[in-house]
Amino acid sequence: MLNLIRNEWMKLWHKKATWVMVILLIAMIIGLVGLTKWMDRNTETPPWEQSITEELTMVKQQLTASDLSNETKSNLEEQQMLLQYRLDERVAPISGQGFEGFMMESYGMSSIITLLTVIVAAGIVASEFSQGTIKMLLARPVRRWKILTSKFLTVVAFALFLTVISYVVSLIMGMIFYDALGGSLLEVVNGQVIEESYWLKSIWLNVLALGDVIITASFAFAIGTVFRSSSLAIGIAIFLMFTGTQFSFLLRNYEVAKYILFSHTFTQIETGGSFIEGISTPFSVAVLVVYFAFFLAISYWTFTRRDVTA
């Protein structure tokens, strides 16, 4: 299996397009940092105490409403507790203008990583068919499911590689262009306010984003495997990536929206839940896993049975 993955990895990096993708990713991170810096050059930020106090007033006001669900209520109470803690203990929040805040946002590159991974995932099986090399690849003493597995794992490795690149480049850019402004991340655990590491948080967000990338990639992988056309797979996957969320947003008041893939992401676990009311984290994860398993199942089903006539 390791040899098969090495093969796929070798083929991947012998294509110029792959290098272009990585360079594009790096260039985009650098470009975005430059752009943000340039736009923020004249922005004055008020002292943090002021904004925290404002926020606290707002939360208190919301809590006076009578029609709150239990869930919302406990969320607001937690927020109140955190904000009060900051004011009482004089603990500054992490500023978006600082290095810490920048690193926390680094997972935002995942949409570009998704785009690039989708291109690879769509083509990794389909291109073997279009080049005719599938005959050479399958007339070997290796079972087909192993070949498909090596291809999928290569896609996962590629997504991981891009995520690491993105994180490292962000880190370097952050160190060059941003100053550490201090501030800390607070969370309520079992009624106690504790401080969290922004490093761990930024890495965890990137890991969750990687999970989302892999879900979308598995979709493109399945389309590419079933229809043997990478352009079709790239087209459909990217189209759904951009419109899927809006589509399920439109249906948000219907029960069915809960079961649509696009209503769920791994990242929203950390960043404040789905736009649909009453979706718990385990439910989101379950939906994502079921879709993922389904995409892989149809890929394996077709790939292992198909007669090669290309």
Binding site: H14, M136, L138, A139, V142, R143, D307
Partner: protein, 307 residues
């Protein structure tokens, strides 16, 4: 002692949709033997080859390679086989060497040394590190052969192997095939539409038509002892020879006679004595093309150059 076949097709059938492409095909291929695989367009050659290479699943029946059934023992069975199926499509964006490394990794026990050995055998040392996209068709054909030989196969499938090779290359290729068949006991199945090519290369031919095996013959066995004589006047010579009990038939401007080689001088002498002018005497072989048309019923379109 009977020689055990390397490859056995047992009652092999393939149905696609409602159409029976291959119909209960039985065929055995023996070590050291080069078998030509012929058939008109659409006879099912490619389908048969694809089933032997593990690219298609038979509807019923089985392919046995070196005693291993592809149904129950796929990996081990296929590991005894090397194949070029139609054009050797390789990864154009990588060098020839990287292509070989790639395929070598899919087999067990193919060492770096073996890769170098194969490169030398197909005469690719000079350009092996260049990208495949810069290769000519002949070069790709050589590289295709190289990848098929990597695992020291006991059974080699070659579909249109000389396509794109220059005359010297074809000759070299033929000699090489002979060598591995004779020295290593490899069983080779060659499918080609170049009948003259098959004739030069193969020990026997298997002909399929409409998914069924219609004939299998040793190339040497079909070579009958026939001589062609061009004489004038033809009629006189014909009656003279048939009076002697020799089987005679008209052929082109002269006659075909079924005699032993040793009888030729006497016949010539007698014809000369009768004042019959002799313009040519030559050994006559039915070309494979003639035999092929005979076996497939003649009217059928012979596999043409178009793919």
């Amino acid at each position: 002692m009977e020689i055990k076949p390397i490859v056995e097709l047992k009652n092999l059938s393939k149905t696609i949709g409602k159409k029976k492409i291959i119909d209960q095909l039985d065929l055995s291929l023996y070590p050291g033997q080069i078998t030509g695989f012929l058939g008109p367009n659409g006879a099912g050659k490619t389908t048969t080859i694809r089933m032997m290479a593990g690219l298609m699943k038979p509807t019923t029946g089985d392919v046995i390679i070196d005693g291993l059934s592809l149904r129950s023992n796929f990996e081990l069975g296929i590991s005894k086989m090397g194949a070029i199926v139609e054009n050797p499509e390789l990864y154009k964006f990588m060098s020839g060497y990287k292509n070989l490394v790639h395929f070598a990794r899919m087999h067990h026990n193919v060492t770096k040394k073996r890769i170098d050995e194969v490169i030398r055998q197909v005469g690719m040392e000079k350009r092996i590190h260049e990208k495949v996209s810069t290769y000519s068709l002949g070069m790709r054909q050589r590289l295709g052969l190289a990848q098929a030989l990597l695992n020291n196969p006991k059974f080699l499938i070659l579909d249109e192997p000389t396509n794109g090779l220059d005359p010297a290359g074809i000759r070299e290729f033929r000699t090489y095939l002979r060598k591995i068949a004779e020295e290593d006991g490899v069983s080779v199945l060659v499918s080609s539409h170049l009948l003259s090519e098959i004739e030069l290369m193969c020990d026997r031919i298997a002909v399929i038509q409409n998914g069924k095996l219609v004939a299998i013959r040793e190339v040497n066995a079909i070579e009958e002892s026939q001589y062609y004589i061009e004489v004038q006047p033809v009629d006189k010579a014909r009656s003279l020879l048939s009076d002697k009990g020799i089987i005679v038939e008209n052929y082109q401007d002269g006659l075909l006679i079924n005699v032993e080689q040793s009888a030729i001088p006497t016949i010539v002498e007698q014809l000369v004595k009768q004042n019959i002018a002799i313009y040519a005497v030559s050994h006559h072989r039915k070309t494979l093309e003639e035999q092929f048309l005979e076996m497939t019923g003649g009217g059928q379109v012979v596999e043409s150059n178009s793919k």
